[in-house]
């Protein structure tokens, strides 16, 4: 069963901390042409796109499921007055009509609604994830396209530089961990984990931070795979980076208290690091956030043992 209360409490503490850091970590990269940006109102139908657009300085006036954004994407924080336009796959056309944005940005998955959305505003499809392994590059390309559509081309370059700086800074912060093995995962159900590997944003950022992925060489589907908890026992030296589901706990919270989890060598030796929620396919903002949370958490401990 879903236990939202516990998830929310967990996130509350971290959200506060990260909220404080947000303004430093997530500068709005452009304040030039502010008037024009404010007048060009857009609706983005994807949380990764929303985060990217906000960091580029765009005026996002609507997105789906604000609650979900606050739980899973978190950064950058939404400006006040943003309108919730429905669930991700059932946009509320009437709200959109009332909002009358200048442009609508959709991810590839929402292509089928494009004809309907065109009636409200010019609709552009932007993909910040791509298909092959270099996700950061795909995110950069997508961000450039988005910036071009929003008429903020220099903002994209600046954002890319901010991202590079964030990755370098994070890497320096955890110099002691260079070369060590990690496993990046989140709970799938009581006995399984979803692990991230080659082809996922998280894996690429981790490698950029000079960390090794314990699941290198495993077959992945879109950079993800499901592993049984017992497989973690087979890689006792890896530090486990456990991502939170963001209060959208589809797994009973007590699975973390369950016997299988507690008996894992990594858990018993305290080598499991809990991370707050980061959006899986969230583009450059997610890369920045992931680098930041990982380096913060790992810098607090020495990598004793392997």
């Amino acid at each position: 069963m879903i236990n939202m209360r516990e998830g929310a409490l967990l996130l509350g503490r971290r959200r506060f901390l990260y909220g404080l850091a947000a303004s430093a970590i997530f500068p709005i990269v452009t304040n030039a042409a502010e008037d024009e940006a404010t007048n060009y109102r857009i609706v983005t139908f994807d949380w990764g796109l929303t985060a990217t657009a906000l960091m580029l300085g765009a005026n996002v006036v609507g997105l789906p499921s604000i609650e979900y954004y606050n739980l899973t994407t978190v950064e950058p924080p939404l400006p006040p007055g943003v309108v919730d336009v429905g669930l991700l796959f059932t946009p509320n056309f009437e709200f959109l009509d009332e909002l009358a944005p200048n442009a609508i940005i959709i991810p590839p998955a929402l292509g089928y609604a494009s004809p309907m959305l065109e009636r409200i505003a010019p609709t552009s499809m932007i993909d910040i994830n791509g298909r092959d392994e270099d996700i950061l590059r795909a995110a950069q390309i997508g961000t450039n396209e988005l910036a071009a559509k929003l008429d903020l081309p220099s903002a994209a370059t600046t954002l890319w530089q901010v991202c590079q700086e964030a990755l370098n800074r994070a890497s320096d912060q955890i110099a002691a961990w260079h070369g060590h093995t990690v496993c990046i995962a989140s709970f799938a159900d009581e006995r399984h984990l979803r692990a991230f590997g080659k082809g996922s944003l998280f894996d690429q950022v981790a490698r950029r931070l000079s960390l090794r992925n314990a699941l290198d060489g495993r077959a992945m589907l879109n950079g993800r795979t499901v592993i049984g908890m017992e497989e973690l026992a087979a890689i006792p030296d890896a530090a486990v980076l456990l991502l939170s589901d963001g209060g959208n706990e589809s797994v009973p919270a007590n699975s973390a208290a369950g016997i299988f989890w507690r008996s894992l060598p990594a858990v018993r030796r305290g080598r499991v690091f809990e991370l707050p929620a980061v959006l899986e396919d969230g583009g450059l903002p997610a890369a920045i956030r992931f680098a930041h949370v990982v380096s913060d958490v790992l810098a607090q401990r020495a990598p004793n043992g392997g």
């Binding site: 236990n3 009509d97 017992e230 008996s263």
Partner: protein, 665 residues
């Protein structure tokens, strides 16, 4: 229940014992296979007694495989005891925790508390589930009490409550923003990770079974007659309530522990009966053992299958159980003859053409006015959107598609009711729309990007397939309404089971179907609107041709022959027309909305008697109902939208439940 001493059936004790032994052997063998895949046999004993917590294999065996095996036995036994009790009290071999809607009620209560009062739920799952199951059980019983719990009516009421509880559950999920995992849990999973579930089940089920055994003697007396029982100092109604409560409580425990697992209680008691053991004592002593073994074997079998994700036990068992239901219900001869409710006259009012026209005009006005009412992110708006063009585009097509779907469903409802001379018959409850919906699902999986007309062809094909099935079943009886009815019930049940399995498989294509399954009209385009509306007008226009048949058929089997109408031929033609209508309407408004039941009933209640007038009035009511549903779906939970079909189910279902409470008899 037929007492065994009066029948010439030999008790096949040996066969039964062999069957039990075989089933248990299979269950144990499968469990051992699981154990062997985790740990070599030499380590089993140590793993059970003192598991080494650094050894995953030990942990798997001790905390997952072993409790799962024991748990499946306990759940199987508990559900069988509950169902045996229900079957004894209600004298209906098809009564079971799931067919009576009790499991669905228990689960709904758990969902509700899980979403709104989670802390309360954490400590009181059994209590919450028992309350939910009791409410559902009470509803089902009160719906069928006036017809003295006639088996078909009981099954129908159970199906009704099941469908309504499922719709309420979907509403909860949509309101909460969509939690897919809840669907999976609803299918009932026996996966465990410690012994806590077994610790819950073991004492309660043992006690429940024990109490049931104590009540065997009073129950047997009750089986003779109420008079015998009360003359011996027993209060029949008190006993019935007590036994029902025990059954509900046992069901609630199982649902709280592992989720909804249905049909387990159907198989074992029926097998025991067919081996010649009719009395309640034998059933309560023998059937739970068989039921325990069956569920454990089934669970072991499905665990063994190489599917990408585990098929939960609940869905797996339901797939097997629905055909079983059909087999049981179809072959039984009921002792209580069905009380023929006079179909044609239930109202003293008369529907004149003037009143009909007024009604239709009023409906049209309301529908048109509703286009201008809406709810934006600043609140209610009464003038439409920023331009008339926008208002008509965003609100028009979906409204028209909904109305068209309602019209077609209502008309097909009239056809089916006249055909079966049964006021409770409707395309949804007879499984015709389920057949069409299954076709959509197959298409979505196999040809996801097929054009609309291909889908339409598929759904009509789906309806026809169900039709053919019912024809085959009914051919010997010249499409006797009874056979059609029972077959349809089983198919509708089977369909829900398939949906659960598909949802549990986690296939992402299924989620995109969810909107349609719930009857969402929000992506309707003007082209769709024109098409569907045209079809619905065509539907009404065709019927003057067959209205004579429709007038004669409900009068009984002899009347058509007397007037020179071929009974088989006319029934077949009506069935074909009805299937085509349902097939198309399913594409518009989803498979379930109770409109096919409500429309015709409202028509009769307002005095329309002849077939043609019933068709027109039912169409008006059906269209109006879907229009209201579309409107509510548009404004109720902004910015989220409720599918029109779901809202219609909630409204229509409530209406039908109230109707059954007041009118049956």
């Amino acid at each position: 229940m037929v007492d065994d001493q009066s029948s010439a059936i030999l008790r096949q004790g040996r066969l039964l014992r062999t069957l039990c032994a075989v089933v248990w052997l299979v269950a144990i063998a499968l469990a051992l296979r699981s154990a062997a895949s985790a740990l070599p046999p030499s380590a089993w004993w140590i793993a059970i007694r003192h598991p080494d917590i650094s050894n995953m294999g030990h942990l798997l065996l001790h905390y997952s495989i072993a409790p799962r095996f024991v748990g499946s036995l306990l759940v199987g036994a508990g559900l069988t005891v509950a169902s045996t009790l229900f079957q004894s009290i209600l004298r209906n071999p098809a009564a079971d925790s799931s067919t009576l809607g009790i499991s669905a009620g228990a689960f709904l209560a758990l969902s509700f508390c899980g979403i709104f009062i989670p802390p309360f739920l954490a400590g009181q799952r059994t209590l919450v589930a028992t309350v939910g199951g009791a409410i559902a059980g009470a509803l089902v019983l009160s719906l069928s009490s006036r017809s003295r719990f006639e088996p078909k009516i009981l099954l129908l009421s159970g199906l009704l409550i099941n469908l309504y509880a499922s719709a309420l559950n979907t509403l909860l999920i949509l309101y909460h923003g969509g939690l897919i995992r809840l669907f999976i849990w609803e299918s009932g999973s026996l996966a465990m990770q410690d012994w806590s579930v077994v610790q819950l089940l073991l004492p309660n089920i043992t006690i429940g079974w024990f109490i049931a055994l104590i009540l065997v003697r009073p129950l047997s007396l009750l089986g003779v007659s109420d008079g015998t029982a009360s003359s011996l100092g027993l209060s029949p109604s008190f006993l019935r309530w007590l036994v029902m409560f025990i059954g509900i409580w046992l069901t609630a425990i199982c649902v709280a522990a592992v989720g909804v697992i249905g049909f387990v209680g159907l198989a074992a008691p029926e097998i025991v009966r067919r081996m010649g053991y009719f009395n309640i004592r034998s059933q309560l002593l023998i059937a739970p053992w068989l039921g325990a073994g069956l569920l454990s074997a089934a669970d072991g079998l499905f665990q063994w299958l190489p599917t990408p994700t585990e098929i939960p036990a609940g869905s797996a068992v339901a797939l097997l159980g629905a055909p079983l239901l059909l087999w049981i219900a179809a072959r039984r001869q009921t002792k209580i003859p069905p009380a023929p409710e006079p179909y044609l006259t239930i109202s003293d009012r008369r529907m004149t053409p003037i009143r009909a026209t007024l009604l239709i005009c009023l409906a049209l006005l309301l529908v048109l006015a509703s286009i201008f009412v809406g709810r934006g992110y600043h609140g209610w708006t009464l003038g439409g959107l920023h331009s008339l063009d926008a208002t008509l585009f965003w609100r028009g097509p979906r409204l028209i598609v909904a109305v068209a779907g309602g019209i077609m469903l209502a008309v097909s409802g009239v056809l089916v009711q006249r055909l079966t001379a049964n006021p409770m018959a409707s395309p949804e409850l007879l499984g015709i729309s389920s057949g069409a919906a299954l076709a959509v699902i197959v298409m979505a999986i196999v040809f996801p990007s097929a054009p609309q007309w291909l889908y339409a062809l598929a759904t009509t094909g789906g309806s026809l397939v169900i039709l053919m099935l019912t024809i085959t079943l009914g051919l010997r009886h010249a499409f006797s309404p009874d056979r059609v009815f029972v077959a349809g019930l089983s198919i509708a049940t089977f369909f829900s089971a398939i949906i659960s399995v598909l949802l549990a498989s986690g296939d992402p294509r299924i989620y995109s179907l969810l909107n349609w399954l719930n009857g969402s009209t929000f992506l309707a385009t003007p082209t769709d609107a024109t098409l569907f509306f045209g079809l619905s007008i065509l539907a009404i226009a065709i019927f003057p041709l067959v209205s004579r048949w429709l007038d004669i058929l409900p009068l009984g089997a002899e009347m058509p022959r007397a007037v020179g109408i071929s009974l088989t031929g006319s029934r077949l033609a009506i069935l074909l027309l009805s299937s085509a209508l349902v097939g198309v309407s399913v594409l518009a408004a989803g498979p379930l909305s109770f409109v096919g039941l409500m429309g015709p009933h409202l028509a009769r209640a307002s005095g329309a008697r002849r077939a043609m007038s019933q068709i027109v009035i039912a169409a008006a009511f059906g269209g109006l109902l879907m229009a209201v549903a579309d409107f509510i779906g548009r404004v109720a939970f902004v910015p989220r939208q409720l599918p029109a079909g779901l809202v219609a189910t909630l409204i229509g279902g409530a209406y039908v439940i109230c109707l059954m409470r007041t009118r049956r008899g």
